[in-house]
């Protein structure tokens, strides 16, 4: 029972991390119409960034403070160099170019950090955990990560619902051409959205680094699971990404407890079930 509780907590916390990665992916797809296979690489770069920055700063949260702006700028550069050439092209070309980016980022990662796994320390003040029973504790750091993700999710929803840039983002989800026709330069909107997506994926990678070891290819499972979340939630929907990510996180964690033999298929079964009931996803436009 305690184990199941811990798995449930882990599932929610994993889901919240996935949300950060998936929210960027869903915006880039929903607003810019770009399938970005390299999205997981930004999670990976976030994790390695956490590794290097923490060696200097000594604290993962200081690394976060430095790493997120760096990731945003990196996103602007990648958009300017590569992604903006994809807007008028078909999905096959988008997949090819962003797949090439994965290969490039993976090579760069090997050159810079090598192929051994590394670990990133949990800050001293978050060592230890809440006692759940005689034998089990739940780490403070995981709780802190979950709280941080929730705060970020609420912040994003506020920005999207209440601010001018949020209004433009929502409008862009439904009709990019009209956004442009009403005087908003969609090149700037796209650059901002892409860079924000990169920053969000990197944020997830940074705060996740102390939870598991940092290793080559760490972003790839995140990419796949993020796509599942985008499909479940409905393309372009932040609310959908949030709900989808929590669902996936919990299903994945409970699957490991109750159906260990099929644990890796549980999330896909969930995706299939959602798509049968709602082909456009939970918050998708009517499909």
């Amino acid at each position: 029972m305690d184990l199941a509780l811990i798995q449930l907590l882990n599932g929610v916390q994993y889901g919240l991390l996935i949300f950060l990665a998936a929210s960027g992916l869903t915006l880039v797809f929903g607003i810019m119409g770009v399938i970005n296979l390299s999205h997981g690489s930004f999670y990976m770069l976030g994790a390695y960034c956490a590794l290097t920055l923490t060696q200097f700063t000594g604290d993962i949260f200081l690394s976060l403070l430095l790493g997120v702006p760096l990731a945003f700028v990196f996103g602007v550069i990648i958009e300017w160099l590569f992604i903006r050439r994809l807007y008028d092209r078909d999905h096959l070309q988008q997949v090819l170019l962003t797949f090439a980016l994965i290969l490039i980022f993976n090579e760069a990662q090997k050159l810079l950090w090598g192929s051994h796994p590394h670990s990133v320390p949990v800050p001293g003040y978050l060592q230890g955990g809440f006692k759940i029973s005689e034998l089990l504790t739940y780490p403070y750091y995981r709780v802190a990560v979950a709280a941080f993700c929730v705060a970020l999710a609420l912040g994003m929803m506020f920005v999207i619902q209440k601010t001018r840039i949020g209004r433009v983002i929502r409008a862009g989800e439904s009709n990019r051409e009209m956004v442009e026709a009403l005087g908003i330069d969609s090149r700037l909107l796209f650059r901002f959205v892409f860079a924000a997506g990169v920053a969000l994926a990197a944020t997830a990678g940074i705060v996740a680094a102390p939870l598991e070891s940092v290793y080559p290819g760490i972003g790839e499972p995140i990419l796949i699971i993020s796509f599942v979340v985008v499909v479940i939630g409905g393309i372009g929907s932040i609310k959908g990404a949030f709900l989808g990510a929590i669902l996936i996180g919990v299903a994945d964690a409970l699957g490991k407890v109750y159906f260990p033999a099929f644990s890796s298929s549980v999330v896909y079964a969930l995706m299939a079930a959602v798509l049968i009931a709602r082909p456009g996803g939970l918050f998708g436009r009517a499909a």
Partner: protein, 237 residues
Amino acid sequence: MNAPAILAENINTHYGRSHILRGVSFRVAPGETVSLLGRNGMGKTTLLRTLAGLVRPSSGSVRLNGNDVTGERASARSRAGLAIVPEGRGIFPNLTVAENLTFASRANRKGERPWPLDRVYTLFPRLAERRHHWGNELSGGEQQMLSIGRALMTSPSIILLDEATEGLAPKLRDEIWSTVKQITQSGIAAIIVDKNLNDLLALADRNTIMAKGEIVFDGPSAALRADEALIHRHLGV
């Protein structure tokens, strides 16, 4: 001498390999209302979209109030005073009526806002009633009003209306036309594409007809009304 609100010269537009606009020149004087008529598929929408910068012509030039905007994006043309009310209306379904209206609210180049929110609500009282509704909760007529109101809030000097009354009941159609009349009388130039010849003849200072990507008629309403053969050839059913 005032520069034309819009002056397009020798426009050629292609979709892939099909040559749609064939050397179209088009001029609208400041404050003038011009109708653009023609059968289905003759290139009316393509011309409006080319003027608005939503489609790139392969050759030709476009000037807005004397400024060359040929190389400019749609967003720059919008900020320079051109507004389009597109076929299909282009409402943002996931924004409220009020959010749709204020989405691109801005002053014109002289710093004036001739159509602030309350004036748009006076013009379309139904939008005021429904200001907190989502864009996709509106009827077709209300969406049309919203699209026109949103265009006005960009303080345009010229407005392009593409099939503004399509699918509307006659009573609503008359309502839309009477507001369009108020808009053009306020000094905004207009190009109006529509299928209802008689409505346009009453509204327009000048009429144009497009056939197979070329302008085949350009003249006052009286001249067009008198030329039954022309009407039959290019507009008749």
